[in-house]
Symmetry: C2
Subunit: 461 residues, 2 copies
């Protein structure tokens, strides 16, 4: 509970309309996409950067915990106030696109801007912001930056960190800093923006982001390959990616996922197929797209692809994408509880990774349907169990631990895009040495000596 003096201070600072402390609102800000719940003591809506600075300075002096929050769409609890304190929310005021600079191909935005809103605004003027997390319709740029969000187009265009040129932020002591510039090159001083990206709101509060934009490619084409085995499909993935073309997306569904989508939607999907790959290519010339698709078709056919379809129009493209876009929600046919992870390995390890997952599923007698962003080695791994059966849930978490171990053994990472937050904190010691954890901890202390900013996340104290 916050002392009333603190509530008085905040009310005087931001106005009572920008402070929630009633039960209903506190509950509304107590959860995220993990479905875990932790109630904050208050929710504050800063009007501008100076409010953020004043709030942090006060909280630092009074040792009050602050948890910055985007849309609460995270899968790992990064925005959950697990130690209570104040949730800092940006959707009321700090949610503006401040500038689209067409001459320098840069956008400057506040943290509360929704990803898709930015994409639409820049596309209207012929520009392109590639990072497209599945949450793009509601997740915010502030959250995207703090989790270093990925997406379907990462295979060609990279992830959020590849577009962040500068970050304005407030340190826990209230200091306002700017890291980076509206320039492609900048090597003066430490790369503070680099360390703030993916720091899950544990080091500073982001108040403004400068993002690199690209020219919007004039056209996109979609193709789908149907494979008899998942092993061959995974071989086709890494061979395509090293073939000289770089597809925008190279997404996959395994047999269990195909069957689930078919069971729910009855689209006539090939339920005997070992895997489906869906791919997009883009560019400015029809010939170039056909050149790319030609290479992909060749690599696919040399690696067990039985059927290769190229969409001839937008409707056909949407049809080819249907199964992939509806994969996640279809998986409930396998159980009421889905423990979904986003492990990522070097692409050449994908065939082995999926074999290992298969062995884990057999060992525990559970289903582990997989789909995802194989173009960058990122597999959405879904351990499905009966959520009402505690024994099943226990088995599910044992299987997940083996999923992580298999991933790490193949040179992979606990998380390709969801982050660590609370959900994966227990597994950090599998992935990092005590020396590496000690370094994380000393960086946390350097920014936040009183540990007021999003404490207990990422396995840090």
């Amino acid at each position: 509970m916050l002392p009333s003096s603190a509530l008085d201070f905040f009310t005087a600072l931001v106005g009572k309309e920008n402070l929630y402390s009633d039960k209903a609102h506190l509950i509304a800000y107590s959860y995220d996409a993990t479905r875990e719940k932790f109630q904050p003591d208050a929710v504050l809506f800063p009007r501008h950067e100076q409010d953020v600075s004043d709030i942090l300075k006060y909280c630092n002096e009074h040792r009050i915990v602050i948890v910055p929050r985007g849309a609460g769409s995270g899968f790992t609890g990064g925005a959950l106030p697990s130690s209570g304190g104040i949730v800092l929310a940006f959707e009321k005021h700090m949610n503006k696109i401040l500038e689209i600079d067409m001459q320098n191909m840069v956008a400057i935005v506040q943290p509360g801007v929704i990803n898709m809103e930015l994409q639409r605004a820049v596309e209207e003027v012929g520009l392109f912001y590639p990072p497209d997390p599945a949450s793009q319709e509601y997740s915010t740029i502030g959250g995207n930056v703090n989790e270093n969000a990925g997406g379907m187009r990462a295979a060609k265009y990279g992830i959020t960190k590849d577009y962040v040129m500068a970050i304005r932020a407030v340190l826990p002591n209230g200091d306002i800093i700017k890291a980076g510039k509206r320039t492609i090159k900048d090597v003066a001083g430490y790369n503070i923006a680099g360390i703030l990206i993916a720091s899950e709101g544990t080091l500073a509060v982001t108040t403004e982001v400068t993002l690199k934009l690209l020219s919007k490619p004039k056209m996109t084409k979609t193709a789908m390959g149907i494979f008899s085995s998942v092993h061959e499909a995974m071989e086709a993935v890494y061979k395509t990616m090293s073939s000289g073309v770089t597809p925008v997306a190279m997404e996959f569904l395994d047999n269990l996922t195909i069957r689930a989508v078919e069971q729910v939607y009855h689209k006539g999907l090939p339920i005997e197929a070992g895997a489906i790959l869906v791919t997009d290519v883009d560019g400015n010339l029809e010939d170039d797209l056909d050149f790319q698709l030609g290479i992909i078709a060749k690599v696919f056919s040399e690696n067990g692809c039985n059927e290769f379809k190229i969409a001839q129009n937008k409707q056909e493209a949407a049809n080819l994408w249907f199964a992939r876009r509806n994969a996640s929600q279809s998986l409930s046919v396998y159980g009421s509880k889905k423990i979904n992870e986003d492990v990522t390995v070097p692409r050449s390890a994908l065939p082995q990774l999926l074999e290992k997952f298969n062995a884990i599923a057999l060992k525990y007698n559970i289903n582990i349907p997989c789909f995802g962003h194989t173009g960058d080695g990122n597999v959405h791994t879904n351990v499905m169990v009966d959520g009402k059966n505690p024994q099943q849930v226990k088995i599910g978490y044992e299987a997940i631990k083996e999923v992580f171990q298999a991933t790490i053994d193949l040179g992979g990472t606990l998380s390709g895009e969801h982050g660590i937050g609370l959900a994966k904190a227990p597994y950090m010691s599998m992935a990092f040495t005590p020396e590496e954890m000690a370094l994380f901890q000393s960086i946390k202390r350097a920014f936040d000596p009183n540990n007021i900013l999003n404490p207990a996340k990422m396995g840090l104290s």
Copy 2:
């Protein structure tokens, strides 16, 4: 001076053949491209990562300064042992390409590998490592990473940081850490690789780097545009870069630079031209290259380009590039001392920046020829004075301070690619607030509490 006990420890550790402490060798390791000189107390050649760890642990316990050094080709003194101590050099042992992983399009190299050696090795197997600093024939990947080196191809392909996937490093206390993975995505833990890049060897010693590779584009074409005014050329630069094509390089020479090259080489250059732009485009299809050149030709002609030449073969391309490649060394016609900086601004500010430089040159009655990587806003700015005339040198440094101020006023940075080191340390307070400098200092302390690693660089203590 090192105590003899330290020399004994190091001799026993690495062998006497890997320790230099004689006068001649100490002098050989006392300088870099700045021509400043600071003699180290010893030079050590670690055989492997464990040597680096043992050396740092000992030095940390005994408070002995360590300065990691690549090829000593830096322009800002980053590798100079300005506080004495030990120079750590990698050219004897830790200079191997450990692996070129074609399946994942990744190279794993030791810090002493020379940039061009890596470029050649990966091109032999059809892959591509884009960062190409002017020092590429001798500078090392370790140095490139620690300075975040750029190059001509940055306009399209970005800079060193865009290719670093993972770094193995030794912390000042001897701890060995690995930051990052052989995966495109990795959001577990803080982005340590991100903060190590461009840290100028002040935070950790790099022992291994994992670099992203691309497929080598099948073809490149070169074109040159001759402009009557530098202002129009700079307009053409930013308009081209936002036109929907992204040239590999977009380099420029101003009138003074054109005249200098002509005076030295007599190539029939257009000495009345306000500026020359030289550009490369690349791709896999002839049509695509012609499409790109068509757009560039159009933008150029709309912005004061009098003559546009497209090279028809390699020899013609080399001719178009001749003036740019020989710009730097030709400038001595304007004076014996060149104070050369690598300021960078948002591209749209280039016309104003060059106007301001012109005003500074007029004010001090000196020549400031400029050339460089305008495709990314990076201008090599050369204040030319008579090095034997102390009054002229003093004027030169007054002019440089105004060059930095003009750059900062236009949203630019002190350094696009050379770093801060010693040479630009006095100007850090022009570019960063006391709060930002305090943050840099606290990060330095978090990694290196005893300040043994490359102290006094970047304006830090």
